[in-house]
């Protein structure tokens, strides 16, 4: 496991620019043991995530699949660690575009798409994804992360959403 340094560097709104790519998070190869450990930790027993015979013969899948819920955890880990202790990951929206079969590794990436100044903190919109061993983008999505201004205060906790939600017009 990767531990966050006790005095991790804080990211400030002024420090980042559109196009900046976050340091990637890599996990894997993800074995059946990883998938079973996730199922046990969450007490989620959907068989396509650990039962090879069921996945292949019954569901006609290429093998047990890494769950979308698990991939979301990795995405939030990358964003959380980047936002730092004074930032906040507010929202993500993603789609699972391809199956990640047991044995794959996942590279979780994110890139800044837009900066939206707001009162008290700045919002950063990022696009993110997971790239598997075959080079396929298996997850694609967007995130809204709040960062403190340099010299300002930490983003409020619990988080107080901005008066204007940048995604309000596109939210389903």
């Amino acid at each position: 496991m990767n531990a966050v340094p006790a005095e991790a560097k804080q990211t400030y709104f002024e420090d980042v620019e559109v196009g900046f790519e976050l340091p990637r998070l890599r996990r894997g190869p993800l074995t059946t043991m990883h998938l079973v450990r996730w199922s046990a930790a969450t007490e989620g027993w959907r068989r396509i995530h650990y039962d090879q015979k069921f996945a292949i013969e019954k569901q006609k899948l290429p093998g047990p699949l890494v769950s979308g819920e698990f991939k979301n955890q990795l995405i939030w880990q990358l964003l959380k660690d980047w936002a730092g202790l004074e930032g906040w990951v507010w929202k993500t929206a993603c789609q699972f575009r391809a199956m990640d079969v047991v044995g794959t590794s996942l590279d979780v990436w994110a890139k800044i798409k837009r900066k939206v100044p707001s009162e008290g903190y700045g919002l950063v919109e990022l696009e993110f994804g997971t790239t598997n061993t075959e080079g396929r983008e298996s997850t694609q999505g967007s995130a809204l992360v709040a960062l403190p201004y340099r010299g300002g205060t930490a983003v409020p906790y619990p988080f107080v959403p901005p008066a204007v939600d940048p995604w309000a017009k596109t939210a389903s």
């Binding site: 996730w38 396509i48 819920e69």
Partner: protein, 173 residues
Amino acid sequence: MRLTDEMRKYVGVQTAVQRTCDPVETGAVRRHAQAIMDADPIYMSKDFAARTRYKVPVAPPLFPSAMMRLPFGEPDPVDERANDPDYDGGDRSRLLGLPPLPVAHTAQLNGGTEIEVIRYARHGEWVGVQMRYRDIYERETSKGWMLFVVVETSYFGEDDKLIMRVRETQIRR
């Protein structure tokens, strides 16, 4: 699979807010953090957390979504159906009483997720959960007609305020 009038009636159907069967347990937080391979000290270290704005150890951001567990003494679907070759392992929404859609033995895939987090759950905190069918629609794909079922789950802290909301799109084929 096509969308029927009977299925459309499920849009808006929701459960009551129900408390999860366990509070946020320290051991469950540890197992969750280890399973996602995230050793952030805010999850387990009282000393570290005390130096942050969280003040006390907190659960990983998406931990509440894993808190819908089978209450002790309830009918156990794993025990009852483990030898059923068609049993896919279950659907957590049934734990809260969200009625299943009138479709049988369909493959179900996760088509996407929207997540909003307002704060992290604290160790020892009880969490309330409410689920509803937000939308149900159909689309024709290269593999035929598919159903898209959007289920919204809201999580509330002990102060009854929202801590997290998840909208998951289930694809049924």
